[in-house]
Amino acid sequence: MLRKLALGGIRARFRDYAVLFSGLVIASAVFYMFMTMATNKAFLASNSPISATPVIFGFGTVLLVIITTVYIVYANTFLMSMRQRDYAMFMMLGAKSGKIAQLIFLETVAVGLGAAAVGVVVGTGLTAVAGSIFLGMLHAPATHFAVLWLPAVIATFAFFLAMFVIAAFVNAARLLKTPVLNLLHATTLPNRIQQKRWVLALQAVLAVVLLAIGYWIMGKLMNFGVPAIGIALVTIVLGTYFLFNALLVWAIGLLRRNRRFAARGLHTFTLGQLSFRLRDYTKILAVVAMLFALALGAITVGLGFKDAIPEMAKQQGKYDLVLMAPNASAKQSAAKLTGVAKKVTYRERVVGKTVYLNAAELDAKRLDLVLYRGPGKVVEQAVTGQNFAKYQDEGYSQLQAFKLPGEESFKVVSEAAFAKLSGSTRTAVAYQLKDIGANYDRIDALLTAQNKRYKIESADQSGQKFVTYALINSMFGGLAFMGFFLGLAFLAMLASTLMFKILSGASFDAARYLMLQKIGVRQGLLRKSVRQEIGALFAFPAGLGMVHVLFGLQMFNGLLQHPYQGLLLPFGIFLVLYAVYYGLTVWLYESIVIKKDLAA
C-alpha cells in the first residue's frame, strides 16, 4: 500500500518529476564524467606534464561536491514541496508518523539511487561520445582514459546515496515537526525581504574583499603554488554567493523603489517576480556563475592549449613536411594533403658526404628558415643562393630534413657547376600547410614510411617539424582534451541547473500569469516580461562568470605563452550556446505559464 501511494504521487505530477529527475540525472552524469578523470591517477599522470594535476583535480572534486550538494538540496526541497500536501493528506487520513517517515525515506532514497544509476549510464555514454570526438580531433594520446571506470561509478553512487540518505532524514524530521495545517497551505508564503540593511552591506563588503583576494591570488600562482588554488576556490565561491545575495537584492529593491521605472507596464510584476526569486535563487545563481566560469574557463584553456601546439611548433621551422625523393605511393599520398599553403621542390646532388644545391633554384624559390632570437622570439628568414652559407649553421636542425643519414653538409653551387656534378639528381619536396593537425595521420604515415626507407632512426636525424609537433601535442593534447571534456560536462550541468530552477517554479508561476491574462494584459507584454525575467536570471551569472574567467586565466601564464590571446572564439561559441539555451528555456517556460484557454 505504501509503495502504491509513493509511486502514485509520481504519476500524478509527471512533468514536475520529469524536470526533477532529468536534472538529477544530469548532475550525477556530470559527477561521473568528472570522476572518470579525477579518480584515474594513471590517466592524470600520463596526460599532464604538471605534477600538481592530481591535487588540482582534488580541489575540483571539492568544488563539484559543493555545487552538486546545492543542486541536490534544492532538488530535495522541490521534491518535498511537491509531496508535502500528499503527506499531510495521509496524516489527516490517519497515517502514523512512523509510516510517513518510512514513506519519505523510501521515496527520497529511491529518487537519489535512480538518478545515480541512470546518471552513470548517461555519463558513460557522454564520456564515450565526447571522448572519441575530442580524441579524434586532438590526436591526443590520452592513454589510460577509460569510459567505464569503476572507481568513478563507486564514487558517484556513494556520493548520491549519502546525500539522499541525509536528505531523507532531514525531510522526515522537518515534515513531522511542521503542523499538518501549515503543510496543506505551504504554497503561499510571505515574502518580505527579511535581511537587515547592515547585513547586506556587510555581505557586499565581504564579497568585494573575498573576490579581490581570489582574483589576486590566481595571478600569484607562481609565488604561492598549489595552495593558491585552494584559497582562490574558497574566496571566489563565497564571494560569488555574497555578491549575489547583497548586490542583487539591493539593486532590485532600488529599481522597485524607483517609481518612475517601476510604474511602467509590467515592470512592477517583472521586478516582483525577480525579487520573489532572487532570495531563494541566490545560491543557485552563485552555483550557475561558478559553473559558467568553470565551463567557459575549461573550454577557453582547452582551446588555448590546442592553439599552443601549432604556435609552438611554428617556432621549430617553416616546413611542416619534407619528402625526400618520394616514391609513387608517397607522391600519391602527399597529393591528398589538405590546406597546402606552399609546396617547393628542390633538386639535390650528393657527392661523397656533401649535398649540393643549385643557386639559381634557391634564388627563384627561396628557402624559409626560422631563426631563434631569444626566449619566445623568432624571426623568419628567406634564404637565397647568396646568403645560404651565412644562415646554414643557424638553420642546421631545420636543414636536417633536406638530407639523409650519412650526409654531412650542404653546398650551394652555380647552375653550371650543379649540372657538371657527378651522380643523379634527387628531389626534396617541402610543404607548408595551413593546419598540421588536420593532416596529422597522413603526415605520420608518410614519415614512418620515409624513416623506414632511409633508416632514419632518431628525431635529430629526421629534422622534421612534425616530430616536434607530435611531442608538443602529446604534452598539451592531454590538457586540451581535459579542457574540452570538462568544459562540456560543466556546460551540461550549467544548463540543467538553470533550467531546473526556472522550470521547477513554473507551476506556481502559471497561476500568476493566468491572473494577468484575465485582467487584460496582452500576451505580447507577458512574453516580454518572461523574456526580461529569465534574461536577468541568465545574464547575472554569465556576467560574473566571465569576470571570473578573465581573472582565472592568469593561472595559466606559466603554461601558455599567451593565455589571453584569441578569447573571442571560445567566448563567442560559449555565448552563442548560452543564448540558444536561453531561448529554449524561455520557450519551455512560456509554454507552461501562458495559457490559451483562460476559462479553465
Partner: protein
C-alpha cells in the same frame, strides 16, 4: 429613448465536447440585459451553467452561438490584443479566490492596470489612494497579500477591478471565501459603489444573502434563465425571504 444596455446577452449557447464526441450543452439559449447602474445577481445551483455564463460574459470563453455585447461592443468578435485591451479597460473582475499577485504589494496590485497603460507614476499613486480610501484599505497598501485578511484581500481585488472605471464589474462568488462580517462589509461597499457612483455590477453567487443586495436576480437552471425577481422597494429582509422561497421551489 431607451439607453443602451451595458451588457446585452442574446441567445447564447455553449456546448462542450467536439462534434463527434459526447457533447454536453451547458447553456441552452440565454438572453438578458443589464442596464447602466444596475446591480444584477445571477443565482443557480452547482452545474446550472452560471460559471460558464460568467466566463463568456467576461470574455474569458466564447459562446458556441449567440452574442454578448458590452457597452455596445460585440465581444464575441474580439481576438488577441484587442480582446486583452477590451478586458483591461471595460471589464472589472472580483474572484472568489481573490487572484491577487502575491509577489506584489497591495499598492502595486491595485496600480497594475494603470501601469499597463503606462500612466505616470504620480497619477497612479493618486488614483490608488483615492480608490483605497473609498474601499477602506488605505492603511494596508504596503502589505503583501499574504499579510492581509480575506476581507482586505477582496477589497484590494475590488480596488484593482475599479481602477480603470470599467463599464461593468463582474463578481464571481466574491464573498465565498470570507467570514460573515467581511462578506457583509464587502457587499455594503459594493452596494455603495453601485448606488453612489453608479457602477454597474453583475454578481454570480449561490448565496441568498449576497444575492439580496442586488436590484434584480436571474435564476438559472440547466442552462436556461428561469425565474426573475426584482427588489423594487421591498426591504432587504423581505427580498431575502423571497429569494429563499424562490430557491425552495426553483430547485425542484
Amino acid at each position: 429613448m431607451q439607453t443602451q444596455p451595458v451588457v446585452a446577452v442574446d441567445n447564447v449557447t455553449k456546448t462542450y465536447g467536439k462534434a463527434n464526441e459526447k457533447q454536453y450543452q451547458a447553456l441552452k439559449g440565454v438572453t438578458f440585459d443589464v442596464q447602466p447602474g444596475e446591480f444584477v445577481g445571477i443565482m443557480g445551483a452547482s452545474g446550472s451553467g452560471k460559471t460558464t455564463l460568467l466566463n463568456i460574459l467576461s470574455t474569458l470563453d466564447r459562446p458556441t452561438s449567440g452574442h454578448v455585447a458590452i457597452n455596445g461592443q460585440d465581444v464575441t468578435k474580439l481576438r488577441g490584443n484587442r480582446l486583452s485591451d477590451f478586458r483591461a479597460k471595460q471589464v472589472g473582475f472580483i474572484f472568489q479566490d481573490f487572484n491577487l499577485l502575491e509577489n506584489l504589494t497591495a499598492r502595486e496590485n491595485i496600480a497594475l492596470p494603470m501601469a499597463l497603460q503606462n500612466a505616470g507614476a504620480k497619477a497612479q499613486q493618486a488614483a490608488v489612494d483615492k480608490v483605497a480610501a473609498t474601499l477602506g484599505i488605505a492603511g494596508v497598501l504596503d502589505h503583501y497579500p499574504t499579510e492581509l485578511s480575506g476581507g482586505q484581500k477582496q477589497r484590494v481585488a475590488a480596488a484593482r477591478a475599479l481602477m480603470q472605471e470599467p463599464a461593468i464589474l463582474f463578481g464571481d462568488e466574491p464573498t465565498g471565501a470570507l467570514d460573515s462580517q467581511s462578506a457583509r462589509d464587502l457587499l455594503d461597499t459594493m452596494q455603495h459603489l453601485n448606488q453612489e457612483q453608479g457602477v454597474s455590477i453583475l454578481l454570480v453567487t449561490h448565496d441568498p444573502f449576497s444575492a439580496s443586495y442586488a436590484s434584480r436576480i436571474l435564476f438559472i437552471k440547466d442552462g436556461q434563465v428561469g425565474t426573475e425577481l426584482r427588489h423594487a422597494g421591498k426591504s432587504q429582509e423581505a427580498f431575502y425571504q423571497e429569494i429563499l422561497n424562490t430557491l425552495g421551489t426553483f430547485q425542484k
